[in-house]
Symmetry: C2
Subunit: 203 residues, 2 copies
């Protein structure tokens, strides 16, 4: 709750612009009721603009929903990659990656929730245009874990499984925050999450 996004700060657009207000309104509605259930009329009304204005900035509702998803998807990938690069030992990499996730989530919780809740909708569209690894936070995490296993830092075992389990610790906690089961900012639990992730990796 420390750094809450105002209604003006955009996802793709500069803060204060009409495009930013459209993105913010769409984001909230998409999170609350799902992309398909939200109408363009509602987005327009919630943005305080007309429906036509919406189509000045995005060619379609689908393009709007996709652009916002891949904005955070790409951001996550970049920050996870940077976090992994800034540490040497796997424990420190894990801590840095958890810190990156938590920071991005708390910085723009609605956008992060949107990513979490719609991943299965947009992932099929992802690897078509880009190389399978770059731009995908999961693939980057998996690469880090594979390396650590290869170098004997982590016990042998299916890296894909370790990746899923480690990410699950953080992402399910975020989900439970959406459901109201976990309270407060994710950042308040960063230390516990990091310890849990490391425990999973070493198990």
């Amino acid at each position: 709750m420390l750094t809450e996004k105002t209604e003006q700060s955009g996802v793709t657009a500069a803060p204060g612009t009409t495009k930013a207000r459209i993105e913010r309104a769409a984001l909230s509605l998409f999170c609350a009721r799902g992309v398909d259930a939200v109408t363009t009329r509602e987005i327009a009304a919630a943005s305080g603009v007309s429906e036509g204005a919406l189509y000045r900035h995005y060619p379609s509702k689908d393009a709007l929903s996709q652009a916002m998803f891949f904005a955070i998807h790409k951001r996550l990938a970049e920050e996870v990659e940077a976090a992994a690069a800034e540490a040497a030992k796997i424990e420190d990499k894990a801590r840095a990656i958890v810190a990156a996730y938590v920071r991005i989530a708390d910085e723009d919780w609605t956008l992060f929730s949107y990513h979490l809740l719609t991943t299965h909708r947009f992932l099929p569209y992802a690897d078509k245009s880009e190389s399978p690894k770059s731009g995908n936070p999961v693939a980057i995490v998996e690469g880090v874990i594979m390396d650590a296993v290869k170098h004997g830092e982590l016990p042998q075992g299916d890296a894909a499984l370790k990746t899923a389990a480690a990410l699950g610790v953080v992402l399910q906690t975020a989900l439970h925050k959406i459901y109201g089961r976990v309270k407060g900012a994710l950042g308040a639990h960063e230390e516990a999450l990091a310890r849990a992730v490391i425990a999973v990796l070493k198990s």
Copy 2:
């Protein structure tokens, strides 16, 4: 892949009935493209019946999607509760609960995927009709963990957090199986999942 559900076995209905075929067809389509994106015409076509027949068995598309969600939701709650009851120590409870999840998932993977992918859509409808704990697998797991913390079997710490992290290990792995990142039946990873869950709980 051992015990794959045939197209005839129902979710709510007896195998081989029209209702069961409708449910199976709807389930596959809902998983593949999302509830809202699937039309009643498509469900009817995929079931091999007319659209009208669909409304002989369910009053609405929404009722169909809800009934199937709560069928597995209730089943998960019951089996998790039973699993927790059959063991004394928290490690054994954890193993039994993981085993229950894995078994239910592999028994009807499409239905389990559906539950996983649509939880955030239907959960708001859940606690209105029932008591908040019974019938909710997450609440039951949280109860088990709270007890274990209280009795000194697990280190002190936020039980809600431990619950999310432990469930995340299993559920994110299931998600990654949907994404094609984890291969084979969940059962093949049961031992690794159980160890990871226990490691998280003790962290």
